[in-house]
Amino acid sequence: MNIFSKKQNIPTSQAELIYEAQTSKERRFRTNVGLSWFILLFILVFMFSGQDITFGSTTLSGIQIDTAFMANNLSFIAGGLGETIRISIMSIALAMILALLAALGRLSTFPPVYALSTFYVSLIRGTPLYLQIFFFFLALPQLGIILPGLIAGVLALGLNYGAYMSEIFRAALSSVGKGQREAAIAIGMTPSQTMRRIVLPQALRFAIPPTGNEFIAMTKDSALVSATGFVHELMWRSIKVGRAQFHTLEALIMAAMFYWVMTLILSYVQSRIETRLSKGDR
């Protein structure tokens, strides 16, 4: 045992030297990207600061925004955060169920079920989400079905995302090899036991990271539900105070910041989940 070997951190082998060089290059790159981000953020903030800056003969002036308005309405707009998150969670739950059903249908060998699944996906993906929201909120009352704005919004978002996410779930289900099913069947499991105990747990594990991405996208698309005028989420609130006081610029900047920060936080959580899952089995 060489007691000195632990003390020296100087890389010796060629592989270590190459590794060292690569990581330090990577580190430098990341530092520079971070720095550039900071500068871009600074420029963005400066643009809306109302300050003037002079380079020789040219003067750049920032856009004047009403910070008093922003401070006064901060809590009103922030009050929509909960509603935005609530819509997103309800819709993603609905979307996951529909996506799973559509994916199972897509893998079915029974023609009507396969057709139903592809028909649903095609119809929903072939029409705008905005139209679907209005359909549930404004078109259905003509048939005597009156839905509250929130329900109409959640139904539309859930149906829409379910159609897109069916591809994720289909891929997840197909990622579970044929051998897994055969092993389950060989020990006497019924098809439903095989699905519940063997296929679904593995498929869901595969589907979690991309579903997280969809959830992040949904928090932003939930803004469309404001179009119903009856769901007081972030977007609706910022439009409302902005229009009323002719400060839509400030109001939208605030809403944008809320969405952006929310997305950043969710993306961070998402990447944590992803690394956690990738460490698991397989």
Binding site: G177, G179, I185, A186, M189, P201, Q202, R205, D281, R282
Partner: protein, 253 residues
Amino acid sequence: MVPVVKISNLDKYFGRLHVLKDLSLEVMPREVVCLIGRSGSGKSTLLRCINFLEEPSHGCIEVDGIKVAGGEKGKKHRQLVHEVRLKTGMVFQEFNLFPHMSVLENVIEGPVIVKGMDRQKAVDLAEQNLDNVGLLFKKDEYPNRLSGGQKQRVAIARALTMDPKVMLFDEPTSALDPELIGEVLNVIKKLANAGMTMIVVTHEMGFAREMADRMLVMADGELIEDSKPADLFSSPKDARTKALIERYRSGEL
């Protein structure tokens, strides 16, 4: 004696391809039958027909008194197939352990979920079988932490814990690195010596020669040879068997 497995006039088609041709076979209790033949000769398909992973097109499969006609549908048929599956244990080339379950959970899954066995009883049984394959110390590991040989031994323990009347091995060592084949073959030998009836599809001619009570050779969907290993190696009847043995002798197999 009554055969454990009795296959009568089995036919299997994949579309228009005739893979098994009017095949009949009996396997007696405690018998070790090795099934050899070139790839594509139908030996895996025959094995998979026994527990209905492939549904036979015609003919009849009987396992431990449960008689099932191939090519039928309906609830009664499914019930019979289920009973046959409970009496057969299968080991796959690719192990097919459940990656989201620990070794122990893999082994107790069948008894607990399929047979409704008390969990503690299943654990005791599973630990005993894991001990038999020498892997009790790995019971809390996940499959991805095991070597190929260890995975296959767990797969054997998993099949054994269902208390089958016959074990079906589908090329159990073909996916293994050469240095890991021995440990799996040793477990299979131990099982044979303990009196388990088994049908082994294999390319391991040395193993078959040593362990088999009978060797069956398949070619083009037919059984072309059914004899004791010594006879097979000394006086093969069919030209195709001769070719197979030549390849083995020359070290190709």
